[in-house]
Symmetry: C2
Subunit: 328 residues, 2 copies
């Protein structure tokens, strides 16, 4: 089976690539080749046992999808997007990449014809929901995005549902929780602090907490995110019906609970590196974000997280990113 | 104030035009000019007291919107669409007209800049909902279209919300119930019988009822539809917030109740012209349609129907379309 990953150079794309190459198979099928696309060429994996193509292309170009689809990938993981803040600041660019790019992709799939109907796994986002909403957002709550990014993700969910219903592809959209702990450097995303306050102290660095400890949010580890993608790429979708968009399982915790977990796992010296510096802008943004979900549909369909507690999320980070060690 | 009606040659567009020309004002403002657009030139109203431009253009042409927007209409009624059956049969045409056309329109508005922010009233549809759903669909039930038409309407709702949120226009999307009694000739739409069984017998003709009498559906008169549009064009939208998509009030009745109304209003001779000829295809299609709604948001925002009972809907038809007379 041939696998195409769009947006493969991002954090989730890289981790998905690693897992697929490590396992050599997706579900019951051997992987015979992979194509990794991104706007900058993804790193070519060293020592891959199978042929891996690396493609640099602009997903928003009308002609970018056709050559990728020409290889008839059996499974397509579509992770290509510009992030929320950028889509909000650059209106045209957001619609071009996050909406038009997806349409070019699904139309390129459709143009193949002859019964070609690949599995398309689209990474949607909890940004399809904006306040006000119930304390726990259920599987039937309506799309209420308060960002252009969330709007674009909502629209792509609808398109993928319709193209799937018409038999033009075999799509599923999965709404990832906020990924925590996100590896790498602190960034300026408003959500950055949820990971910063764990990752930086574990690395011996200070981290800024700009909101109060009672802020509640919805998390999953990078490992869980990759697990959701793999399951979405392999599961039997016939039972799912035409509603191919699902909120993924996650964990609802307050910032205070995150810090308590960090103290349990790594000690007081580590949590002492968190500096409280309230930021009214970030407090305002975060107040409109989802806090908790009921994800019965996804659970019933076999989606599971790799963690049971937030302590596990921290341990997964220490294990996967820090080689099992941290700055005590 | 200048008013632009897109899709003005359709039934609702014609009735809206008549009302606006008759009243000479929209809300508190005098109408100083109107532009009527459709793919075939709308009929030029006779004896209009104000200048009325008539434009034939293809709404799906990338350049069609700019010249219409160049006149800086203060209020735009966007009724342009191909209908459900056609959008389902002609996939590309549906997306071109029902989705791309709307994007060209809102981008043409945005391109004007300089604080130009017209009221945009978009006619959405209860086709954004597909079964299964609750017996009464509430204001927060999610978009579950089972047609490309419903998908396209859902997407336009999301786009108009986002462009409004960004301050690029002042939009509102209203989901019209099935219009009953639809004047004109019987057509092949699966929903046609809801009107046919009233309109044809009143005209002395036979009508076919293809479903059982316990089928329940959601209706509003043409007069109500025009009333919703006028209200949406004039109301203060500041209180509405970013969720600018609303299910309109209507009336939930069974086919049996429709026929009982017809008998009360017009007598047994008239209802005797309804012939029961079950059609499994239509029975199947209709079984997936919404039956009833809770429309608290719209009611709170001042949207009201012109009818209180289905008898009223029949009387409105006899009054507005038949000059007060019917074939007894």
């Amino acid at each position: 089976m041939h696998i195409l990953i769009l947006g493969a150079a991002g954090m989730v794309g890289r981790k998905l690539t690693e897992r697929l190459l490590r396992e050599g198979r997706l579900g019951k099928q051997d992987i015979t080749g992979m194509t990794l696309q991104d706007v900058v060429a993804p790193a070519k994996p060293a020592n891959a046992a199978i042929p891996v193509n690396v493609v640099a292309s602009d997903f928003a170009d009308a002609g970018a999808a056709a050559p990728l689809i020409a290889e008839r990938p059996d499974v397509i993981f579509h992770l290509a997007a510009i992030v929320s803040g950028e889509a909000e600041a650059e209106f045209d660019k957001g619609y071009r990449i996050n909406l038009d790019g997806t349409r070019y992709l699904i139309d390129a799939i459709r143009a193949v014809g002859g019964g070609y109907k690949p599995r398309l796994v689209f990474t949607s986002s909890i940004a399809v929901f904006g306040a006000p909403f119930p304390e726990k957002i259920g599987d039937e709550f309506f799309h209420t995005p308060l960002t252009s990014y969330g709007t674009q993700k909502s629209i792509c969910e609808l398109l993928i549902n319709d193209y799937t219903r018409k038999g033009l592809l075999d799509g599923i959209s999965i709404r990832l929780p906020t990924i925590c702990v996100r590896p790498g450097k602190p960034n300026k995303a408003a959500s950055g602090f949820f990971s910063n306050i764990i990752r930086e102290p574990l690395a011996g660095e200070e981290a800024v907490l700009p909101v109060s400890e009672d802020v509640r949010h919805w998390h999953a580890s990078p490992k869980s995110a990759v697990g959701f993608l793999v399951h979405a790429g392999t599961m039997d979708l016939n039972a799912v019906g035409p509603r191919r968009n699902l909120s993924m399982p996650g964990m609802s915790v307050t910032v205070g609970e995150q810090i308590a977990s960090l103290e349990r796992v790594a000690g007081k010296n580590v949590t002492a590196r968190i500096k409280r510096v309230p930021d009214p802008t970030i407090i305002g943004i975060v107040s409109g974000w989802p806090r908790d979900f009921v994800t019965d549909r996804a659970l019933k369909l076999g989606f599971t997280t790799a963690e049971k507690t937030f302590d596990d999320i921290i341990r997964i980070h220490i294990e996967d990113e820090l080689g099992g060690k941290f700055a005590a």
